[in-house]
Amino acid sequence: MIETFKLELKEIKNSFYLLSLLTWIPLVSFLLIIYIFHNGVAHNLPISVVDNDRSNLSREIITQMEANPSLHVKSIYNDLHQASKSITQSTTYATIVIPAHFKRDVVQKKQPQITAFINAQYLLIAKMLHSALSTTISQSAARIDFASNLAKDGQAKSALNATLPINVQVTPFFNTYKNYFLFLVSAIIPTLWQILIVVATISSFGKTFKEKKENQFFKNRNTFMAIIGKTLPYTIAYLGWGILFLLYMYGYEPWKFQGSFSVTIFAMLLTILAYEGMALIFFTINFHYTRALSLAALYTAPAFAFLGITFPVSSMPQFAHTWHNLLPISHYLKLQIAQASYGVSVIDVIPLLINIAYFLPAWLIVWFKIRRAV
């Protein structure tokens, strides 16, 4: 084991490509993802307003929308045609139409309606706009209502109650700031990580077999231990990257790690071994380097959509649900959330650890196939 470990280290030292897979490629790709999302919250989403009323009331509503940190009133148009053009060109994401005689209708208690046309093709952005706009409009409506109740009643407290009989307080559990950084980056980086593990494992073995060095590694040795030794540099390196990612996410960033760090790291180790096993299965089908990489691409590239982070697993059809279970990273991410956010006890995540461990028998198949091939 130690010998093949040392041999592999030498191989890595002499191959810029293998060295890259272990060092700067993970660094650059992880940093790139962090950099894309480093704002965490989307501020100043551009919208436009078609103000058909042009009263002090409509102007006040526009000011209030501008005051919402998520919104930015980019332009005020005279007609809907210009506004809809700015939506199809994606220079704005929504158009808010304030109807003519708006102020008059409010005074006459006719309850006029403000209409927001939101570009729902950009679903996530549309969801942010939905919540920003409905909060702004209901707050501004409540303020006006409060003012008129106060004028009638003279007492602030009952005027407030007349405005809002029931308050609703929304609590985002485990991600208090509703930060998209935590939500997306904590899933995207592990997805990149699993691609790296599979590619590096196939590259290591592919290179050895392509250069006909397999006898150096496996002849006159215990095949199983030799395989473990050969993959060990990758196991260590990717465990290191995994730990760095966890430390960055939950150490440097403001989210506290609630549960057991060591169990999460142990799960990472199992996940690495699971993916190395899968990678070697792809490779040992017929020991063809490039073909194995094509299979690896089919297996690892679409993973993000199946994780259940952006779209709930419970709403997926059976096929997608099964595929979700066939990706070790799905189980790892559940465990990561359970530990980092919920801080559940170690006993409660044992089933997840077992789910990852189900992939480990792949190593036995690989052992058998490599022993037969050498």
């Binding site: 060109q89 309850q111 729902a120 008129s148 559990f173 063809h288 259940g308 779209f311 359970a338 956010s341």
Partner: protein
């Protein structure tokens, strides 16, 4: 050599290379079926929640009933304390918690606005959003009816009491994707990325394959480029029509653009991608480096294309860098043409950018193939 010989030679090397075939035919067909799978049920199912009723009055029961009647929500359990409910949330038995405070009814009668707490797991944003949206809708409706009732007590006529509960309202209309479907949202953009990535992998493997071969392959550069453009251009034009036509229909994704506009916009996209692929392949020392390199770019490219995370929030350098890849203007252009029904004149910037890329990468592929040829003749 005649051009026909070169074409035959390239054709043979492409279609006898199993990894290339596996990617540019197998992969493309597989992904067209595979990628939309998670969203195939379309809507997010009813979400199960728990209610903690600390008031136990007929008014709190009424709130609970109206919550249960909301299509988004289903009350799966009632817990005695917030802690019990939170435990159920962690065990994944429920997705959200609603807490009605003690003395809820008394406070309402005393005109002290009580507060109902709505909580959900914000690790999963879509679930979080649906729980909150459903709960807010139901509670605010209930709140409004209480207000109307209060006004009625004060002898306001019913019709004006009903209208008076809020001075104005907001109506939201979802454009282009009325039901907020995930399929419509993700698939049109991801399909463009898949076309680009599989094409780049195919040409990358091919270029790497030629570069690692010992025998010389001498043919005029223009013949090599034209031959590859013809073969991959034909194949991927078919793929593009298959994706944007058949697959869209199959998954009921609307497509608003005229077929002619799609073809017109698609030509520079495919050409730019082919030339980028020839250039990329020319740089590779061997065929196995193609797949990993392209694979690593997929996630950064999809998240910097501006349709998931708003382009306003993405750092500018990343945006400029992503414009070097054909998929970025292509996704922006195709989404506007095909999903939002934009006029062709509204995507001229993207269209021009794709042609610019095509020219740039054509020059770069000529350069890289030429350099290699010089090395061979020396």
């Amino acid at each position: 050599v005649s051009f026909f010989d070169v074409l035959k030679f390239e054709f043979k090397n492409i279609f006898t290379n199993i990894p290339i075939v596996l990617t540019v035919i197998g992969g493309v067909l597989f992904y067209s079926f595979f990628y939309p799978q998670p969203y195939a049920n379309e809507v997010v199912k009813t979400l199960e929640i728990s209610v903690v009723d600390l008031d136990k009055s007929e008014l709190s029961r009424k709130i609970i009933h109206s919550l249960d009647a909301t299509p988004e929500l289903n009350i799966a359990r009632e817990d005695l304390s917030t802690n019990d409910a939170k435990k159920a949330l962690i065990e994944n038995k429920i997705k959200g918690i609603i807490v009605i405070p003690a003395h809820f009814k008394r406070d309402l009668t005393l005109h002290v606005s009580p507060t109902i707490a709505v909580g959900a797991d914000a690790n999963y944003f879509l679930i979080f959003g649906s729980v909150v949206q459903g709960a807010l809708k139901s509670i605010l409706t209930e709140s409004a009816s209480i207000k109307v009732a209060n006004l009625l007590v004060k002898n306001t006529p019913l019709s004006s009491a009903k209208k008076a509960y809020t001075p104005y309202t907001l109506q939201t209309i979802n454009l282009f994707n009325q039901d907020m479907s995930y399929t419509y949202y993700v698939i049109p953009a991801v399909f463009i990325l898949i076309l680009q990535q599989t094409l780049l992998i195919g040409l990358g493997i091919l270029g790497g394959f030629y570069n690692e071969r010992k025998e010389k392959y001498s043919a005029p550069i223009w013949m090599k480029i034209t031959a590859r453009t013809l073969i991959f251009g034909t194949l991927f034009s078919m793929h593009m029509l298959f994706y944007l036509g058949f697959s869209f229909d199959f998954f009921h994704i609307p497509h608003l653009a005229a077929a002619f506009d799609i073809v017109k916009f698609g030509i520079p996209f495919i050409l730019a991608t082919i030339f980028l692929g020839i250039f990329f392949g020319g740089l590779l020392k061997n065929q196995e480096s193609a797949t990993p390199i392209v694979l690593f770019t997929s996630l950064p490219l999809i998240f910097s294309a501006g349709f998931i995370w708003p382009k306003e929030a993405i750092p500018e350098i990343v945006t400029y860098f992503s414009l070097l890849f054909p998929c970025t203007p292509a996704i922006q252009g195709f989404l506007r043409l095909n999903q939002m029904g934009a006029d062709f004149s509204e995507v001229l910037v993207q269209y021009g950018l794709l042609w610019l890329q095509a020219i740039l990468y054509l020059l770069l592929s000529i350069y890289v193939l030429n350099k290699k040829k010089q090395k061979e003749t020396l």
